[in-house]
C-alpha cells in the first residue's frame, strides 16, 4: 500500500473579523497562506499542489474561485483542487491535502480555506437567494430543542458553552470575537434569535482564511518547528432527510469518529485524547457532539460541560481556540478546527495551549448535520505508545 506518514509543518490564519475591508479576496487567502509558508520555513516555489476549500460560491458571488485564485496561491503550473462539502468543507480541504501526501503523489501540499462573508450575505445564500431564509440557526434550533428534552440538560448548559468558548477566544490573537468580559447573565439576557438559541449562543459572521502545509515523513522530521503528525482522517455522509432520521445524534457522526478511533487505536476517547476542536456554531452542539462522537455516553455530554471538563484547564478541553463561536469564516471554519488541533500537539498554541497535549481530535460538520470530516493528530506517530 502507498499510505505513508503525513506531517503538518505550517499553519497560518488571518485575523478574523466581521469585515476585512483592508484586503481583497486575493489578499485574504494570501495572508493565511503566507503565514503558513512562513511557519513551515518554505516559499511558494516549495509547494507541489494546492487544495482550496470554501462554502457556497454564492457567499462572495464568484463562481468556482479556484480558477481566479490559482495564481494568487502560487499554483501556476501546479495542480489546483477545489473541495465543497458544505460546512464540513474546511475539514475536507485538510483531508484532501493530507491524502495527496499520504498517497505519495506529492511531497509538499498547501491546503487553503476561506470565506469573505462581508462581500455578500450568508442568510441570502442559505435561503437560496429568496426571502424568508431560516438560516443555519433556524435549521439547527429544532435539533437542539430535541437534544435538551432527550438529555434532560438544564438550560444553562448552552450559556456555559457560550461563555467558555468566548473566554478561550479572548486568549486567541486571531479570533474574531474577544469577549473577555462575557458572563452567563449576558448570554441569557441576549436577544432570542432562533428559539431556544440566544444571540450570544450563536456564531458570528466572519471574513477569514486558514492555510496548512503538509509534507512527508522526511519533511516532517527535518522541519524547523515541531510537526503535527496526521494519525487518521475520515469523512462520513448520510441523507439530510428521511422519516425518523435522528439528526440530533447522527449515525454518520458516530461512524466517522469510530473510524478515526480504530485507525489510531483509541479505545477510550475521553482518557486517551488530550483535547478536541469540534464544530460548535451554536453552543449546544458541544454536548451533542461529545455524545455523537462517543466521548461521552448518551445523555452525559452536558455533564462534561457542566463540570468544567471541557474548559481549557479541564480534563478534556474542547475548542481551545474559541471555536466557531468566536470566529466563523464558514468555509475556513473546519480547517481552523483541524489547525488548532495541530497547533496543540505542536505545542504552539500560545495562551490557549493545553499543557502536554500529545493527541488531539478535530471535527467539522455540514448541511443538515449530515456531513462529517474528522482527523486526529499527534505530537509523534505513536502518541499512545
Amino acid at each position: 500500500m502507498s499510505s505513508q506518514p503525513v506531517a503538518v509543518v505550517g499553519i497560518g490564519q488571518t485575523h478574523h473579523k466581521s469585515k476585512r475591508r483592508d484586503v481583497s479576496i486575493t489578499g485574504l487567502v494570501r495572508e493565511a497562506a503566507q503565514r503558513a509558508l512562513e511557519d513551515a520555513n518554505m516559499d511558494w516555489g516549495d509547494i507541489d499542489a494546492v487544495v482550496l476549500g470554501k462554502a457556497p460560491d454564492l457567499f462572495e458571488g464568484v463562481m468556482k474561485p479556484e480558477m481566479y485564485l490559482a495564481d494568487a496561491l502560487g499554483a501556476n503550473g501546479k495542480p489546483m483542487f477545489r473541495v465543497h462539502t458544505a460546512g464540513s468543507v474546511g475539514g475536507s480541504t485538510g483531508i484532501v491535502g493530507s491524502q495527496l501526501v499520504e498517497s505519495g503523489r506529492h511531497k509538499r501540499v498547501l491546503s487553503v480555506a476561506f470565506e469573505k462573508q462581508s462581500e455578500g450575505n450568508a442568510q441570502f445564500a442559505l435561503g437560496g437567494g429568496k426571502s424568508g431564509s431560516i438560516g443555519a440557526g433556524g435549521a439547527f434550533a429544532p435539533f437542539i430543542r430535541a437534544y435538551i428534552r432527550r438529555s434532560g440538560a438544564p438550560e444553562d448548559i448552552g450559556w456555559k458553552v457560550a461563555v467558555k468558548d468566548r473566554l478561550n477566544g479572548a486568549k486567541n490573537p486571531y479570533a474574531h470575537l474577544k469577549l473577555a468580559d462575557i458572563t452567563i447573565e449576558k448570554v441569557k439576557e441576549s436577544p432570542m434569535m432562533w428559539d431556544p438559541l440566544h444571540f450570544l449562543e450563536s456564531c458570528p459572521s466572519s471574513d477569514g482564511a486558514c492555510a496548512v502545509v503538509f509534507t512527508d515523513e522526511e519533511g516532517g522530521k527535518a522541519a524547523s518547528k515541531p510537526p503535527a503528525w496526521v494519525l487518521a482522517t475520515s469523512m462520513r455522509s448520510e441523507p439530510g432527510w428521511f422519516a425518523g432520521r435522528d439528526a440530533v445524534d447522527p449515525q454518520a457522526a458516530h461512524d466517522c469518529s469510530a473510524d478515526i478511533y480504530k485507525q489510531v487505536g483509541i479505545t477510550n476517547p475521553r482518557e486517551q485524547i488530550d483535547c478536541a476542536e469540534l464544530y460548535v456554531p451554536f453552543s449546544w452542539y458541544e454536548p451533542m457532539w461529545l455524545e455523537a462522537h462517543d466521548i461521552a455516553a448518551p445523555g452525559e455530554g452536558w455533564k462534561m460541560t457542566d463540570s468544567g471538563a471541557t474548559a481549557l484547564d479541564g480534563d478534556f478541553p474542547v475548542n481551545m481556540s474559541g471555536g466557531v463561536l468566536s470566529s466563523n469564516p464558514i468555509g475556513a471554519s473546519g480547517l481552523l478546527r483541524f489547525s488548532e488541533a495541530a497547533l496543540q500537539v505542536r505545542g504552539l498554541a500560545g495562551d490557549h495551549q493545553v499543557g502536554g497535549a500529545k493527541l488531539a481530535l478535530a471535527q467539522a460538520y455540514g448541511a443538515n448535520a449530515q456531513f462529517f470530516a474528522m482527523w486526529a493528530v499527534g505530537s509523534s506517530l505513536d502518541p499512545l505508545g
Binding site: 502507498s2 499510505s3 460560491d57 481566479y68 503550473g77 448520510e238 449515525q251
Partner: protein
C-alpha cells in the same frame, strides 16, 4: 504488464441521456446513472468504499445544491463521501487518490450538471476575475474568440481548419448513441455561418446539455474480480495556469495541458485514441499540439464536447468514451482530457490502458 495492488482501474460506468433540457433534477438524473455504473461493476451500493461527485452551485442557481444529490446514493448506512465544485473528472481524481491509500478497494465518481437553466454569456462572467473582468461582462464566447483570433494570427490554423474540426466531430457523433448533437455538415456550410464573436461561429460553440455520468474504480486484484477487461489508469495529472488570459505569454498553447500530459506520462508510449474536452472547436487544435499527439492518434471518435456538453460532466464523459474504446478493443492505450475555464485555464490528463 503485470498489475499490483497499487494499480487502479475503471470497472464500470454509465451516463444519463444527454438532453438539451432534462426535466429532472440533478438528483433524479444521478440516481439511475450512479446505479448503472455500480451495476456494470457487478456491485451493490453498500460495496462502494468511497463516493465523490462534481457539480456546481451557480449552475443550479442555489447554494449547497449538491446536498440534495446525496439522496441519489441511498447513503444509508452512512457512506464515506465527498464533493468537488469541479468537473466529474476531478472527482475521479479524488477517488483515485483515495484508492491509492490502500484502505478501500472500490470507489465511485460522478459528475452532474444542468446547463439548460442558465445563459452561458451571462452566468460565466462571474467565473472570471471579479475585479478586472466580471464588471466588463467578459463572457466565455468573447474570451474564447480572443484565443481563437490569436491562433489564426499565429498562422498555426485557419478558419477552414477549425471548420473541419467541427464537421469531423459532428460526423463522429453520429456513431455515438449518447451524443445530443450529430450530423453531416459541410465545411463550407460552417464557414457561411455568421460570427457570434468574430472569428467564433455558432458551430464552434458547444451545445447546451443536461446530463450526468458516473464511473466505478477498483484497485488491484479487485478490478479483475469485477471486470473482464479493466481499464487501468496508468497516468493521471492536472495543472492550472494564470487565470487572466492577458497574463499568458502565448494563448495559442496550453502550458497547463502540456504539464499535465507530461505528469501523466502521456509520452511514454503511443496513444491509440484521445478524447479531448475542447469546449470551443478551435481549442481541439491547441490541445492536440499541447498534448503532443501524433497524427496516428484518433481524436474524439465520440464527437467530443461538440456532441454533448453537460458542464461539470463533459470531462468525465471523455474518460468514459476512452474507457469504452479500450473495453471494446478499439484501443489499448488512450488519453482522456478535461478542462475548466474559457481559455483552457485548467487541464487534466488521464492515461488509460487495457491489458493487451
Amino acid at each position: 504488464m503485470p498489475r499490483s495492488e497499487n494499480d487502479i482501474a475503471i470497472v464500470g460506468f454509465a451516463q444519463s441521456p444527454m438532453l438539451r433540457r432534462s426535466e429532472n433534477t440533478e438528483a433524479e438524473m444521478m440516481l439511475p446513472t450512479v446505479q448503472g455504473a455500480i451495476k456494470m461493476a457487478g456491485l451493490e451500493k453498500e460495496d462502494i468504499g468511497f463516493t465523490v461527485s462534481g457539480s456546481c452551485d451557480y449552475l443550479s442557481g442555489r447554494g449547497f445544491s449538491f446536498v440534495a444529490n446525496v439522496d441519489a446514493y441511498g447513503a444509508w448506512p452512512p457512506i464515506n463521501e465527498s464533493h468537488v465544485e469541479m468537473d466529474g473528472a476531478w472527482a475521479m481524481y479524488e477517488a483515485f487518490i483515495h484508492l491509492l491509500l490502500g484502505h478501500i478497494d472500490t470507489a465511485l465518481a460522478a459528475g452532474v450538471g444542468k446547463t439548460s437553466n442558465s445563459d452561458p454569456t451571462t452566468l460565466y462572467t462571474i467565473e472570471m476575475d471579479p475585479y478586472y473582468l466580471t464588471p466588463l461582462g467578459a463572457d466565455p464566447w468573447s474570451l474564447a474568440a480572443l484565443q481563437y483570433r490569436a491562433l489564426l494570427d499565429s498562422g498555426k490554423a485557419t478558419e477552414r481548419d477549425v471548420a473541419e474540426v467541427v464537421a469531423r466531430n459532428l460526423a463522429n457523433a453520429k456513431g455515438n448513441i449518447n451524443a445530443q448533437v450529430s450530423g453531416d455538415v459541410s465545411v463550407d456550410e460552417i464557414l457561411a455561418q455568421p460570427y457570434v464573436r468574430n472569428p467564433l461561429r455558432k458551430a464552434d460553440l458547444p451545445p447546451v446539455t443536461d446530463g450526468c455520468a458516473a464511473v466505478v474504480l477498483a484497485r488491484g486484484k479487485k478490478a479483475y474480480d469485477l471486470c473482464e477487461r479493466p481499464v487501468w489508469i496508468t497516468g493521471f495529472d492536472h495543472r492550472v495556469e494564470p487565470h487572466l488570459p492577458t497574463l499568458r505569454s502565448d494563448l495559442t498553447v496550453s502550458e497547463s495541458t502540456r504539464l499535465a500530459a507530461e505528469g501523466a506520462g502521456a509520452g511514454n508510449g503511443p496513444i491509440d485514441l484521445a478524447e479531448i474536452y475542447a469546449p470551443f472547436s478551435f481549442q481541439e487544435l491547441i490541445l492536440r499540439e499541447s498534448l503532443g499527439l501524433s497524427d496516428d492518434t484518433v481524436v474524439n471518435a465520440s464527437g467530443g464536447a461538440q456532441g454533448a456538453n453537460p458542464v461539470m460532466v463533459t470531462g468525465l464523459l471523455r474518460v468514459i468514451a476512452a474507457a469504452q474504446a479500450i473495453m471494446d478493443g478499439r484501443a489499448n492505450r488512450a488519453l482522456a482530457h478535461a478542462t475548466s475555464g474559457p481559455c483552457l485555464q485548467q487541464n487534466l490528463v488521464c492515461i488509460l490502458e487495457g491489458d493487451e
